[in-house]
Protein backbone atom coordinates (compact mmCIF):
# COMPACT_ATOMS: atom_id res chain seq x y z
CA UNK A 1 0.00 0.00 0.00
CA UNK A 2 1.43 3.35 -1.00
CA UNK A 3 1.70 6.17 1.47
CA UNK A 4 -0.97 8.14 -0.38
CA UNK A 5 -3.41 5.22 -0.18
CA UNK A 6 -2.77 4.97 3.56
CA UNK A 7 -3.30 8.69 4.09
CA UNK A 8 -6.47 8.62 1.97
CA UNK A 9 -7.91 5.68 3.91
CA UNK A 10 -7.04 7.41 7.18
CA UNK A 11 -9.03 10.52 6.21
CA UNK A 12 -11.99 8.42 5.09
CA UNK A 13 -11.88 6.41 8.33
CA UNK A 14 -11.69 9.60 10.36
CA UNK A 15 -14.70 11.06 8.57
CA UNK A 16 -16.66 7.85 9.16
CA UNK A 17 -15.65 7.68 12.81
CA UNK A 18 -16.69 11.27 13.57
CA UNK A 19 -20.49 10.82 13.55
CA UNK A 20 -20.27 7.54 15.46
CA UNK A 21 -18.21 9.24 18.15
CA UNK A 22 -20.74 12.09 18.15
CA UNK A 23 -23.56 9.61 18.57
CA UNK A 24 -21.78 7.85 21.42
CA UNK A 25 -21.23 11.20 23.14
CA UNK A 26 -24.82 12.22 22.40
CA UNK A 27 -23.74 15.29 20.43
CA UNK A 28 -25.93 15.10 17.31
CA UNK A 29 -24.65 18.47 16.07
CA UNK A 30 -21.35 16.84 15.17
CA UNK A 31 -23.17 14.35 12.94
CA UNK A 32 -24.48 17.30 10.96
CA UNK A 33 -20.97 18.69 10.83
CA UNK A 34 -19.64 15.39 9.48
CA UNK A 35 -22.47 15.26 6.94
CA UNK A 36 -21.54 18.74 5.79
CA UNK A 37 -17.95 17.56 5.38
CA UNK A 38 -19.03 14.54 3.34
CA UNK A 39 -21.28 16.60 1.04
CA UNK A 40 -18.71 19.30 0.41
CA UNK A 41 -16.11 16.59 -0.18
CA UNK A 42 -18.44 15.04 -2.76
CA UNK A 43 -18.95 18.38 -4.50
CA UNK A 44 -15.23 19.07 -4.53
CA UNK A 45 -14.45 15.56 -5.76
CA UNK A 46 -16.61 16.37 -8.75
CA UNK A 47 -14.69 19.58 -9.33
CA UNK A 48 -11.41 17.71 -8.83
CA UNK A 49 -12.14 15.71 -12.00
CA UNK A 50 -12.07 18.90 -14.08
CA UNK A 51 -9.61 20.91 -12.00
CA UNK A 52 -7.24 18.31 -10.64
CA UNK A 53 -7.08 15.84 -13.51
CA UNK A 54 -7.85 18.13 -16.42
CA UNK A 55 -6.32 21.37 -15.14
CA UNK A 56 -9.58 23.15 -15.96
CA UNK A 57 -9.91 25.95 -13.43
CA UNK A 58 -13.68 26.16 -13.38
CA UNK A 59 -14.77 29.14 -11.34
CA UNK A 60 -18.39 28.28 -11.99
CA UNK A 61 -19.01 24.95 -10.30
CA UNK A 62 -21.48 26.57 -7.94
CA UNK A 63 -23.81 26.50 -10.94
CA UNK A 64 -23.87 22.70 -10.88
CA UNK A 65 -24.02 22.58 -7.10
CA UNK A 66 -27.00 24.92 -7.16
CA UNK A 67 -28.71 23.13 -10.01
CA UNK A 68 -28.57 19.94 -7.96
CA UNK A 69 -29.98 21.82 -5.00
CA UNK A 70 -32.80 23.37 -6.99
CA UNK A 71 -33.62 20.02 -8.62
CA UNK A 72 -34.19 18.64 -5.13
CA UNK A 73 -36.05 21.73 -3.93
CA UNK A 74 -38.33 22.03 -6.95
CA UNK A 75 -39.22 18.34 -7.12
CA UNK A 76 -39.92 18.27 -3.40
CA UNK A 77 -42.06 21.40 -3.55
CA UNK A 78 -44.20 19.97 -6.32
CA UNK A 79 -44.59 16.69 -4.46
CA UNK A 80 -45.44 18.55 -1.24
CA UNK A 81 -48.05 20.76 -2.91
CA UNK A 82 -49.26 17.92 -5.09
CA UNK A 83 -48.89 20.05 -8.24
CA UNK A 84 -47.79 18.55 -11.52
CA UNK A 85 -44.35 19.78 -12.57
CA UNK A 86 -44.04 19.60 -16.33
CA UNK A 87 -46.17 17.94 -19.00
CA UNK A 88 -48.30 16.50 -16.21
CA UNK A 89 -45.36 14.77 -14.54
CA UNK A 90 -45.58 14.89 -10.77
CA UNK A 91 -42.92 16.02 -8.30
CA UNK A 92 -41.28 13.48 -6.05
CA UNK A 93 -39.77 13.12 -2.62
CA UNK A 94 -37.43 10.31 -3.64
CA UNK A 95 -33.79 11.33 -3.32
CA UNK A 96 -32.63 8.95 -6.02
CA UNK A 97 -34.88 10.59 -8.59
CA UNK A 98 -33.62 13.99 -7.51
CA UNK A 99 -29.99 12.98 -7.89
CA UNK A 100 -30.66 11.66 -11.38
CA UNK A 101 -32.64 14.72 -12.43
CA UNK A 102 -30.11 17.10 -10.88
CA UNK A 103 -27.17 15.34 -12.49
CA UNK A 104 -28.92 15.19 -15.87
CA UNK A 105 -29.80 18.88 -15.91
CA UNK A 106 -26.35 19.85 -14.66
CA UNK A 107 -24.82 17.62 -17.31
CA UNK A 108 -26.75 19.41 -20.06
CA UNK A 109 -25.83 22.83 -18.69
CA UNK A 110 -22.18 21.75 -18.35
CA UNK A 111 -22.28 20.58 -21.96
CA UNK A 112 -23.52 23.98 -23.12
CA UNK A 113 -21.05 25.93 -20.97
CA UNK A 114 -18.23 23.58 -21.91
CA UNK A 115 -18.91 23.86 -25.64
CA UNK A 116 -18.29 27.59 -25.43
CA UNK A 117 -15.72 27.91 -22.65
CA UNK A 118 -13.46 24.99 -23.63
CA UNK A 119 -12.68 26.60 -26.95
CA UNK A 120 -10.66 29.01 -24.88
CA UNK A 121 -8.11 28.37 -22.17
CA UNK A 122 -6.35 29.97 -19.25
CA UNK A 123 -7.83 33.17 -17.91
CA UNK A 124 -10.60 33.20 -20.49
CA UNK A 125 -11.82 29.84 -19.25
CA UNK A 126 -11.82 31.04 -15.64
CA UNK A 127 -13.75 34.20 -16.45
CA UNK A 128 -16.25 32.54 -18.77
CA UNK A 129 -17.15 29.77 -16.34
CA UNK A 130 -17.54 32.43 -13.65
CA UNK A 131 -19.75 34.52 -15.92
CA UNK A 132 -22.07 31.67 -16.88
CA UNK A 133 -22.47 30.62 -13.27
CA UNK A 134 -23.33 34.22 -12.45
CA UNK A 135 -25.94 34.17 -15.22
CA UNK A 136 -27.65 31.20 -13.61
CA UNK A 137 -27.38 32.89 -10.21
CA UNK A 138 -29.16 36.01 -11.46
CA UNK A 139 -31.73 33.88 -13.21
CA UNK A 140 -32.52 32.11 -9.93
CA UNK A 141 -32.81 35.46 -8.15
CA UNK A 142 -35.13 37.04 -10.66
CA UNK A 143 -37.29 34.00 -11.49
CA UNK A 144 -40.13 34.38 -9.02
CA UNK A 145 -41.74 30.92 -9.33
CA UNK A 146 -39.35 29.17 -6.92
CA UNK A 147 -38.75 31.75 -4.23
CA UNK A 148 -36.44 34.07 -6.12
CA UNK A 149 -34.03 35.74 -3.76
CA UNK A 150 -35.64 34.15 -0.70
CA UNK A 151 -34.99 30.59 -1.77
CA UNK A 152 -37.09 27.51 -1.33
CA UNK A 153 -37.72 25.45 1.76
CA UNK A 154 -37.91 21.66 1.81
CA UNK A 155 -40.39 20.96 4.56
CA UNK A 156 -39.62 17.29 5.14
CA UNK A 157 -36.31 15.67 4.32
CA UNK A 158 -36.71 13.58 1.19
CA UNK A 159 -36.95 9.82 1.24
CA UNK A 160 -34.64 6.98 0.38
CA UNK A 161 -36.03 3.43 0.01
CA UNK A 162 -35.64 1.43 3.20
CA UNK A 163 -33.91 4.20 5.15
CA UNK A 164 -35.29 6.63 7.69
CA UNK A 165 -33.61 9.76 6.37
CA UNK A 166 -34.85 11.84 9.27
CA UNK A 167 -32.23 10.18 11.47
CA UNK A 168 -29.06 12.23 11.13
CA UNK A 169 -26.87 9.13 11.13
CA UNK A 170 -28.82 7.49 8.31
CA UNK A 171 -28.58 10.60 6.20
CA UNK A 172 -24.85 10.84 6.91
CA UNK A 173 -24.36 7.27 5.75
CA UNK A 174 -26.20 7.97 2.49
CA UNK A 175 -23.92 10.95 1.87
CA UNK A 176 -20.84 8.99 2.85
CA UNK A 177 -21.76 6.12 0.51
CA UNK A 178 -22.18 8.55 -2.38
CA UNK A 179 -18.84 10.11 -1.53
CA UNK A 180 -17.23 6.68 -1.70
CA UNK A 181 -18.88 6.03 -5.04
CA UNK A 182 -17.60 9.34 -6.41
CA UNK A 183 -14.11 8.63 -5.12
CA UNK A 184 -14.20 5.23 -6.80
CA UNK A 185 -15.24 6.94 -10.03
CA UNK A 186 -12.45 9.50 -9.66
CA UNK A 187 -9.90 6.78 -8.97
CA UNK A 188 -10.89 4.64 -11.95
CA UNK A 189 -11.15 7.63 -14.26
CA UNK A 190 -7.72 8.85 -13.19
CA UNK A 191 -6.07 5.53 -14.00
CA UNK A 192 -8.03 4.82 -17.17
CA UNK A 193 -7.16 5.62 -20.77
CA UNK A 194 -9.50 8.58 -20.60
CA UNK A 195 -7.75 9.80 -17.47
CA UNK A 196 -4.36 9.40 -19.12
CA UNK A 197 -5.45 11.64 -21.99
CA UNK A 198 -7.09 14.13 -19.62
CA UNK A 199 -4.00 14.42 -17.42
CA UNK A 200 -1.66 14.59 -20.38
CA UNK A 201 -3.79 17.47 -21.66
CA UNK A 202 -3.23 19.28 -18.37
CA UNK A 203 0.52 18.68 -18.43
CA UNK A 204 1.07 19.41 -22.09
CA UNK A 205 -1.80 19.91 -24.55
CA UNK A 206 0.68 20.27 -27.44
CA UNK A 207 1.96 16.77 -26.79
CA UNK A 208 -1.56 15.37 -26.56
CA UNK A 209 -2.48 16.82 -29.95
CA UNK A 210 0.82 15.65 -31.45
CA UNK A 211 -0.04 12.02 -30.70
CA UNK A 212 -3.39 12.56 -32.38
CA UNK A 213 -5.78 13.14 -29.49
CA UNK A 214 -7.68 16.43 -29.69
CA UNK A 215 -7.91 17.83 -26.13
CA UNK A 216 -11.33 19.46 -26.66
CA UNK A 217 -13.56 16.37 -26.59
CA UNK A 218 -11.64 14.80 -23.72
CA UNK A 219 -12.03 17.98 -21.67
CA UNK A 220 -15.69 18.36 -22.56
CA UNK A 221 -16.51 14.87 -21.29
CA UNK A 222 -14.52 15.52 -18.11
CA UNK A 223 -16.25 18.86 -17.56
CA UNK A 224 -19.70 17.30 -17.95
CA UNK A 225 -18.90 14.39 -15.61
CA UNK A 226 -17.44 16.84 -13.14
CA UNK A 227 -20.56 19.00 -13.14
CA UNK A 228 -22.83 15.97 -12.72
CA UNK A 229 -21.03 14.74 -9.60
CA UNK A 230 -21.12 18.22 -8.07
CA UNK A 231 -24.86 18.42 -8.80
CA UNK A 232 -25.56 15.28 -6.77
CA UNK A 233 -23.74 16.91 -3.86
CA UNK A 234 -25.94 19.96 -4.33
CA UNK A 235 -29.09 17.86 -3.99
CA UNK A 236 -27.76 16.37 -0.76
CA UNK A 237 -26.80 19.83 0.51
CA UNK A 238 -30.38 20.99 -0.06
CA UNK A 239 -31.63 18.02 1.91
CA UNK A 240 -29.14 18.65 4.71
CA UNK A 241 -30.26 22.26 5.14
CA UNK A 242 -33.85 21.59 4.04
CA UNK A 243 -33.43 24.79 2.12
CA UNK A 244 -32.19 25.93 -1.28
CA UNK A 245 -31.28 29.50 -2.09
CA UNK A 246 -29.40 31.38 -4.77
CA UNK A 247 -26.40 31.51 -2.44
CA UNK A 248 -25.69 27.90 -3.46
CA UNK A 249 -25.18 29.30 -6.97
CA UNK A 250 -23.03 32.26 -5.97
CA UNK A 251 -19.47 32.88 -7.11
CA UNK A 252 -18.46 32.64 -3.46
CA UNK A 253 -19.55 29.00 -3.46
CA UNK A 254 -17.49 28.36 -6.60
CA UNK A 255 -14.50 29.88 -4.86
CA UNK A 256 -15.07 27.76 -1.77
CA UNK A 257 -15.08 24.56 -3.80
CA UNK A 258 -11.71 25.46 -5.34
CA UNK A 259 -10.40 26.39 -1.89
CA UNK A 260 -11.37 22.95 -0.54
CA UNK A 261 -9.32 21.28 -3.23
CA UNK A 262 -6.31 23.52 -2.74
CA UNK A 263 -6.37 22.91 1.02
CA UNK A 264 -6.56 19.16 0.48
CA UNK A 265 -4.43 18.64 -2.61
CA UNK A 266 -5.16 19.29 -6.28
CA UNK A 267 -5.72 16.14 -8.32
CA UNK A 268 -5.25 13.86 -5.32
CA UNK A 269 -7.81 11.13 -4.72
CA UNK A 270 -8.58 12.19 -1.15
CA UNK A 271 -7.69 15.85 -1.70
CA UNK A 272 -11.32 16.92 -1.66
CA UNK A 273 -12.03 14.86 1.46
CA UNK A 274 -9.08 16.23 3.41
CA UNK A 275 -9.85 19.75 2.18
CA UNK A 276 -13.53 19.60 3.09
CA UNK A 277 -12.76 18.25 6.56
CA UNK A 278 -10.20 20.96 7.16
CA UNK A 279 -12.46 23.68 5.79
CA UNK A 280 -15.49 22.72 7.87
CA UNK A 281 -13.23 22.43 10.89
CA UNK A 282 -11.87 25.95 10.28
CA UNK A 283 -15.38 27.23 9.80
CA UNK A 284 -16.44 25.64 13.07
CA UNK A 285 -13.42 26.43 15.25
CA UNK A 286 -12.63 29.90 13.90
CA UNK A 287 -16.33 30.68 13.56
CA UNK A 288 -16.74 29.84 17.26
CA UNK A 289 -14.02 32.29 18.19
CA UNK A 290 -14.89 35.27 16.03
CA UNK A 291 -17.64 36.30 13.67
CA UNK A 292 -14.90 37.59 11.38
CA UNK A 293 -13.50 34.12 10.83
CA UNK A 294 -13.38 34.57 7.06
CA UNK A 295 -10.61 37.12 7.55
CA UNK A 296 -8.49 34.44 9.14
CA UNK A 297 -9.53 31.91 6.54
CA UNK A 298 -8.27 34.38 3.94
CA UNK A 299 -4.92 34.69 5.70
CA UNK A 300 -4.57 30.91 6.00
CA UNK A 301 -5.49 30.44 2.37
CA UNK A 302 -2.99 33.09 1.31
CA UNK A 303 -0.28 31.35 3.30
CA UNK A 304 -1.16 27.97 1.78
CA UNK A 305 -1.06 29.34 -1.78
CA UNK A 306 2.17 31.27 -1.29
CA UNK A 307 4.12 28.88 0.87
CA UNK A 308 2.56 25.41 1.18
CA UNK A 309 1.64 24.17 -2.27
CA UNK A 310 0.41 20.59 -2.49
CA UNK A 311 -2.15 20.89 0.29
CA UNK A 312 -2.68 18.53 3.19
CA UNK A 313 -2.28 15.36 1.13
CA UNK A 314 0.92 16.71 -0.40
CA UNK A 315 2.20 17.45 3.10
CA UNK A 316 1.40 13.97 4.39
CA UNK A 317 2.00 11.77 1.36
CA UNK A 318 4.54 13.64 -0.76
CA UNK A 319 4.31 14.22 -4.48
CA UNK A 320 1.95 12.22 -6.67
CA UNK A 321 3.16 9.10 -8.48
CA UNK A 322 1.95 8.28 -11.95
CA UNK A 323 3.13 4.69 -12.47
Amino acid sequence: MSRETAVSLAFLALLLALPFAAQALDEPFYITLATRMAILALAATGLNIALGLGGLVSFGHAAFFGIGGYAAGILATHAFNNEPLLLGLPGTNQMIVMWIVGAAVAGLVALAIGLISLRTSGVYFIMITLAFAQMIYYFAISWPAYGGEDGLSIYVRNAFPGVNTLKPMSFFLICYALLLAALALFWRLRDSRFGAALQAGRQNPVRLAAVGIAPFRIRLVAFVASGMVTAVAGALFADLNRFVSPSMLSWHMSGELIVLIILGGVGRLAGAVAGAMLYVLFEFVLGGMTEHWQLFLGLILLAVVLFARGGLIGLLAGRPRHG
Binding site: L51, S117, R119, M135, I258, H292
Partner: protein, 306 residues
Protein backbone atom coordinates in the same frame (compact mmCIF):
# COMPACT_ATOMS: atom_id res chain seq x y z
CA UNK B 1 -43.14 54.04 -24.35
CA UNK B 2 -41.95 57.59 -24.73
CA UNK B 3 -38.80 58.75 -26.39
CA UNK B 4 -37.77 60.61 -23.26
CA UNK B 5 -37.89 57.43 -21.21
CA UNK B 6 -35.86 55.62 -23.82
CA UNK B 7 -33.20 58.34 -23.87
CA UNK B 8 -33.07 58.30 -20.10
CA UNK B 9 -32.50 54.55 -20.08
CA UNK B 10 -29.91 54.84 -22.81
CA UNK B 11 -28.00 57.39 -20.73
CA UNK B 12 -28.30 55.16 -17.68
CA UNK B 13 -26.81 52.36 -19.73
CA UNK B 14 -24.01 54.61 -20.84
CA UNK B 15 -23.31 55.67 -17.27
CA UNK B 16 -23.28 52.03 -16.16
CA UNK B 17 -20.95 51.19 -19.04
CA UNK B 18 -18.57 53.98 -18.11
CA UNK B 19 -18.40 52.68 -14.56
CA UNK B 20 -17.67 49.19 -15.89
CA UNK B 21 -14.96 50.65 -18.09
CA UNK B 22 -13.13 52.11 -15.09
CA UNK B 23 -13.06 48.61 -13.57
CA UNK B 24 -12.32 46.73 -16.77
CA UNK B 25 -9.55 49.08 -17.90
CA UNK B 26 -7.54 48.38 -14.75
CA UNK B 27 -8.16 44.65 -14.92
CA UNK B 28 -7.21 44.36 -18.55
CA UNK B 29 -4.12 46.56 -18.09
CA UNK B 30 -2.95 44.40 -15.20
CA UNK B 31 -3.56 41.27 -17.20
CA UNK B 32 -1.95 42.66 -20.33
CA UNK B 33 1.20 43.87 -18.62
CA UNK B 34 1.70 41.39 -15.81
CA UNK B 35 -0.32 38.39 -16.97
CA UNK B 36 -2.24 38.38 -13.70
CA UNK B 37 -5.91 37.69 -13.09
CA UNK B 38 -6.92 39.80 -10.12
CA UNK B 39 -10.17 38.85 -8.38
CA UNK B 40 -9.48 41.40 -5.64
CA UNK B 41 -10.09 44.25 -8.06
CA UNK B 42 -13.67 44.41 -6.73
CA UNK B 43 -12.26 44.93 -3.25
CA UNK B 44 -10.36 47.99 -4.45
CA UNK B 45 -13.67 49.31 -5.84
CA UNK B 46 -15.13 48.82 -2.38
CA UNK B 47 -12.13 50.49 -0.71
CA UNK B 48 -12.68 53.54 -2.91
CA UNK B 49 -16.36 53.72 -2.02
CA UNK B 50 -15.74 53.37 1.73
CA UNK B 51 -12.91 55.90 1.69
CA UNK B 52 -15.08 58.41 -0.14
CA UNK B 53 -18.13 57.86 2.06
CA UNK B 54 -16.26 58.06 5.35
CA UNK B 55 -14.09 61.05 4.44
CA UNK B 56 -17.10 62.86 2.99
CA UNK B 57 -19.04 62.13 6.19
CA UNK B 58 -16.19 63.40 8.35
CA UNK B 59 -15.36 66.52 6.38
CA UNK B 60 -18.66 67.24 4.70
CA UNK B 61 -16.92 67.45 1.33
CA UNK B 62 -17.60 64.99 -1.45
CA UNK B 63 -14.54 66.25 -3.28
CA UNK B 64 -12.20 65.48 -0.40
CA UNK B 65 -13.86 62.08 -0.28
CA UNK B 66 -13.21 61.59 -3.98
CA UNK B 67 -9.54 62.47 -3.55
CA UNK B 68 -9.37 60.12 -0.57
CA UNK B 69 -10.88 57.31 -2.60
CA UNK B 70 -8.19 57.63 -5.27
CA UNK B 71 -5.45 57.78 -2.67
CA UNK B 72 -6.80 54.94 -0.56
CA UNK B 73 -7.38 52.59 -3.49
CA UNK B 74 -4.00 53.36 -5.05
CA UNK B 75 -2.28 52.85 -1.71
CA UNK B 76 -4.16 49.61 -1.04
CA UNK B 77 -3.24 48.46 -4.54
CA UNK B 78 0.43 49.28 -4.08
CA UNK B 79 0.53 47.55 -0.71
CA UNK B 80 -1.04 44.30 -1.89
CA UNK B 81 1.12 44.37 -5.00
CA UNK B 82 4.26 44.59 -2.91
CA UNK B 83 3.17 42.11 -0.23
CA UNK B 84 1.29 39.51 -2.25
CA UNK B 85 0.67 40.06 -5.96
CA UNK B 86 4.37 40.33 -6.82
CA UNK B 87 4.86 36.71 -5.79
CA UNK B 88 2.13 35.56 -8.17
CA UNK B 89 3.37 36.79 -11.56
CA UNK B 90 5.23 33.58 -12.26
CA UNK B 91 2.57 31.31 -10.79
CA UNK B 92 -0.19 29.58 -12.72
CA UNK B 93 -3.66 31.05 -12.95
CA UNK B 94 -5.02 28.73 -10.28
CA UNK B 95 -2.65 30.17 -7.69
CA UNK B 96 -3.48 33.70 -8.81
CA UNK B 97 -7.20 33.01 -8.50
CA UNK B 98 -6.83 31.51 -5.04
CA UNK B 99 -4.51 34.15 -3.62
CA UNK B 100 -6.66 37.01 -4.89
CA UNK B 101 -9.77 35.17 -3.66
CA UNK B 102 -8.09 35.10 -0.24
CA UNK B 103 -7.52 38.85 -0.55
CA UNK B 104 -11.26 39.33 -1.16
CA UNK B 105 -12.03 37.46 2.06
CA UNK B 106 -9.50 39.57 3.94
CA UNK B 107 -10.69 42.89 2.50
CA UNK B 108 -14.40 42.13 2.90
CA UNK B 109 -14.18 40.81 6.40
CA UNK B 110 -11.68 43.50 7.41
CA UNK B 111 -14.00 46.22 6.13
CA UNK B 112 -16.93 44.65 7.95
CA UNK B 113 -14.86 44.62 11.11
CA UNK B 114 -14.02 48.31 10.84
CA UNK B 115 -17.28 49.72 9.48
CA UNK B 116 -19.84 47.16 10.66
CA UNK B 117 -22.49 45.50 8.56
CA UNK B 118 -24.68 48.54 8.00
CA UNK B 119 -24.32 50.31 4.68
CA UNK B 120 -22.95 53.86 4.49
CA UNK B 121 -24.57 56.53 2.36
CA UNK B 122 -22.90 59.16 0.28
CA UNK B 123 -24.68 62.30 -0.91
CA UNK B 124 -24.33 63.70 -4.37
CA UNK B 125 -22.30 66.94 -4.17
CA UNK B 126 -24.33 70.15 -4.32
CA UNK B 127 -22.55 71.27 -7.46
CA UNK B 128 -23.87 68.26 -9.38
CA UNK B 129 -27.22 67.78 -7.68
CA UNK B 130 -29.51 69.29 -10.29
CA UNK B 131 -31.08 67.84 -13.40
CA UNK B 132 -31.03 68.86 -17.03
CA UNK B 133 -33.91 68.74 -19.46
CA UNK B 134 -33.86 66.09 -22.12
CA UNK B 135 -35.60 66.34 -25.48
CA UNK B 136 -39.09 64.94 -24.96
CA UNK B 137 -39.63 66.66 -21.64
CA UNK B 138 -37.91 64.37 -19.14
CA UNK B 139 -35.17 65.39 -16.76
CA UNK B 140 -31.82 63.72 -16.26
CA UNK B 141 -29.54 64.03 -13.19
CA UNK B 142 -26.44 66.13 -13.75
CA UNK B 143 -24.47 63.77 -11.53
CA UNK B 144 -24.94 60.82 -13.86
CA UNK B 145 -23.92 62.96 -16.81
CA UNK B 146 -20.82 63.95 -14.87
CA UNK B 147 -19.99 60.26 -14.32
CA UNK B 148 -20.22 59.72 -18.06
CA UNK B 149 -17.95 62.73 -18.56
CA UNK B 150 -15.36 61.40 -16.10
CA UNK B 151 -15.37 58.07 -17.89
CA UNK B 152 -14.73 59.73 -21.25
CA UNK B 153 -11.90 61.78 -19.70
CA UNK B 154 -10.32 58.63 -18.24
CA UNK B 155 -10.58 56.81 -21.57
CA UNK B 156 -8.88 59.70 -23.36
CA UNK B 157 -6.31 59.97 -20.59
CA UNK B 158 -5.46 56.27 -20.80
CA UNK B 159 -5.20 56.50 -24.55
CA UNK B 160 -2.72 59.36 -24.26
CA UNK B 161 -0.85 57.73 -21.38
CA UNK B 162 -0.28 54.49 -23.21
CA UNK B 163 0.19 55.94 -26.66
CA UNK B 164 2.17 59.10 -25.95
CA UNK B 165 4.18 58.92 -22.73
CA UNK B 166 7.36 57.25 -21.58
CA UNK B 167 5.46 55.32 -18.96
CA UNK B 168 3.07 54.11 -21.65
CA UNK B 169 5.98 53.06 -23.83
CA UNK B 170 7.35 51.05 -20.95
CA UNK B 171 3.96 49.48 -20.38
CA UNK B 172 3.75 48.47 -24.03
CA UNK B 173 7.29 47.13 -23.95
CA UNK B 174 6.52 45.14 -20.81
CA UNK B 175 3.51 43.70 -22.53
CA UNK B 176 5.47 42.40 -25.47
CA UNK B 177 8.69 41.38 -23.79
CA UNK B 178 9.51 41.28 -20.10
CA UNK B 179 13.11 40.30 -20.70
CA UNK B 180 13.68 43.19 -23.05
CA UNK B 181 12.29 45.79 -20.72
CA UNK B 182 14.53 44.44 -17.98
CA UNK B 183 17.49 44.71 -20.34
CA UNK B 184 16.59 48.31 -21.14
CA UNK B 185 17.31 49.09 -17.54
CA UNK B 186 13.76 49.89 -16.57
CA UNK B 187 13.01 48.92 -13.00
CA UNK B 188 10.32 46.42 -13.78
CA UNK B 189 9.26 45.92 -10.18
CA UNK B 190 8.47 49.60 -9.78
CA UNK B 191 6.72 49.68 -13.14
CA UNK B 192 4.48 46.78 -12.11
CA UNK B 193 3.67 48.41 -8.78
CA UNK B 194 2.77 51.63 -10.61
CA UNK B 195 0.55 49.86 -13.13
CA UNK B 196 -1.19 47.96 -10.37
CA UNK B 197 -1.72 51.13 -8.32
CA UNK B 198 -3.07 52.91 -11.40
CA UNK B 199 -5.58 50.11 -12.01
CA UNK B 200 -6.51 50.20 -8.33
CA UNK B 201 -7.04 53.98 -8.41
CA UNK B 202 -9.41 53.62 -11.37
CA UNK B 203 -11.38 50.96 -9.49
CA UNK B 204 -11.46 53.21 -6.41
CA UNK B 205 -12.71 56.11 -8.51
CA UNK B 206 -15.49 53.94 -9.91
CA UNK B 207 -16.42 52.83 -6.40
CA UNK B 208 -16.55 56.41 -5.10
CA UNK B 209 -18.72 57.63 -7.95
CA UNK B 210 -21.10 54.70 -7.66
CA UNK B 211 -21.22 55.19 -3.90
CA UNK B 212 -23.33 58.29 -4.39
CA UNK B 213 -25.84 56.36 -6.53
CA UNK B 214 -26.30 53.31 -4.33
CA UNK B 215 -25.45 52.29 -0.78
CA UNK B 216 -21.83 51.68 0.19
CA UNK B 217 -21.51 48.19 1.64
CA UNK B 218 -19.29 45.16 1.94
CA UNK B 219 -19.48 42.93 -1.12
CA UNK B 220 -20.53 45.77 -3.46
CA UNK B 221 -17.45 45.16 -5.63
CA UNK B 222 -17.96 41.56 -6.64
CA UNK B 223 -21.00 41.87 -8.94
CA UNK B 224 -19.18 44.70 -10.71
CA UNK B 225 -16.02 42.62 -10.88
CA UNK B 226 -17.81 39.76 -12.59
CA UNK B 227 -19.43 42.11 -15.09
CA UNK B 228 -16.01 43.60 -15.74
CA UNK B 229 -14.82 40.07 -16.52
CA UNK B 230 -17.64 39.71 -19.01
CA UNK B 231 -16.54 43.03 -20.53
CA UNK B 232 -12.93 41.86 -20.84
CA UNK B 233 -13.90 38.51 -22.30
CA UNK B 234 -16.03 40.31 -24.90
CA UNK B 235 -13.45 42.99 -25.62
CA UNK B 236 -10.39 40.78 -25.65
CA UNK B 237 -7.97 40.45 -22.74
CA UNK B 238 -5.28 43.11 -22.60
CA UNK B 239 -7.02 45.58 -24.91
CA UNK B 240 -8.07 48.97 -23.52
CA UNK B 241 -10.06 49.63 -26.67
CA UNK B 242 -11.80 46.28 -26.19
CA UNK B 243 -12.55 47.21 -22.59
CA UNK B 244 -14.18 50.47 -23.71
CA UNK B 245 -16.30 48.89 -26.45
CA UNK B 246 -17.19 45.93 -24.24
CA UNK B 247 -18.16 48.19 -21.31
CA UNK B 248 -20.51 50.33 -23.33
CA UNK B 249 -21.99 47.25 -25.00
CA UNK B 250 -22.58 45.49 -21.68
CA UNK B 251 -23.82 48.62 -19.89
CA UNK B 252 -26.31 49.59 -22.57
CA UNK B 253 -27.47 46.03 -23.32
CA UNK B 254 -28.08 45.28 -19.67
CA UNK B 255 -29.92 48.51 -18.91
CA UNK B 256 -32.05 48.53 -22.04
CA UNK B 257 -32.75 44.80 -21.66
CA UNK B 258 -34.16 45.31 -18.17
CA UNK B 259 -36.27 48.15 -19.51
CA UNK B 260 -37.41 46.76 -22.86
CA UNK B 261 -37.80 43.01 -22.32
CA UNK B 262 -40.58 43.16 -19.71
CA UNK B 263 -42.37 45.69 -21.92
CA UNK B 264 -41.92 43.44 -24.96
CA UNK B 265 -43.31 40.41 -23.13
CA UNK B 266 -46.13 42.62 -21.93
CA UNK B 267 -47.39 42.73 -25.50
CA UNK B 268 -48.05 38.97 -25.52
CA UNK B 269 -48.59 38.08 -21.85
CA UNK B 270 -50.44 39.37 -18.85
CA UNK B 271 -48.46 42.13 -17.10
CA UNK B 272 -47.35 40.37 -13.90
CA UNK B 273 -46.11 37.28 -15.73
CA UNK B 274 -44.44 39.47 -18.35
CA UNK B 275 -42.60 41.39 -15.65
CA UNK B 276 -41.30 38.16 -14.13
CA UNK B 277 -40.26 36.48 -17.37
CA UNK B 278 -38.86 39.71 -18.78
CA UNK B 279 -36.80 40.43 -15.68
CA UNK B 280 -35.44 36.89 -15.53
CA UNK B 281 -34.42 36.91 -19.18
CA UNK B 282 -33.02 40.43 -18.95
CA UNK B 283 -30.74 39.32 -16.14
CA UNK B 284 -29.27 36.72 -18.51
CA UNK B 285 -29.05 38.93 -21.57
CA UNK B 286 -25.44 40.11 -21.37
CA UNK B 287 -24.22 36.56 -20.81
CA UNK B 288 -26.08 35.46 -23.90
CA UNK B 289 -24.40 38.30 -25.78
CA UNK B 290 -21.06 37.14 -24.40
CA UNK B 291 -21.73 33.57 -25.50
CA UNK B 292 -22.68 34.69 -29.01
CA UNK B 293 -19.55 36.82 -29.38
CA UNK B 294 -17.37 34.00 -28.09
CA UNK B 295 -18.96 31.55 -30.49
CA UNK B 296 -17.77 33.76 -33.35
CA UNK B 297 -14.56 35.14 -31.84
CA UNK B 298 -13.25 32.97 -28.98
CA UNK B 299 -10.51 35.52 -28.17
CA UNK B 300 -12.86 38.50 -27.95
CA UNK B 301 -13.34 41.46 -30.25
CA UNK B 302 -9.95 43.17 -29.92
CA UNK B 303 -7.65 40.55 -28.49
CA UNK B 304 -4.13 41.71 -27.71
CA UNK B 305 -3.09 38.11 -27.10
CA UNK B 306 -4.36 36.27 -30.15
Amino acid sequence: MSLALFIEQLLNGLQFGVMLFLMAAGLTLIFGVMGLINLAHGSLFMVGAFACASVAAATGSFWLGLAASLAAAAAAGAVIEILVIRRLYDRDHLDQVLATFALILIFSEGTRWVFGSFPLYLDIPALLSGAVHLPGGAQYPVYRLAVIGVGILVAVGLYLLIGRTRLGMRIRAGESDREMIGALGVDIRTLYTLVFALGAALAGLAGAMVGALQSVQVGMGEPVLILAFVVIVIGGIGSIKGALVGSILVGVTDTLGRFLLPAAFGLVMEPSAAAGVGAALASMLIYVVMALILAVRPQGLFSAHA
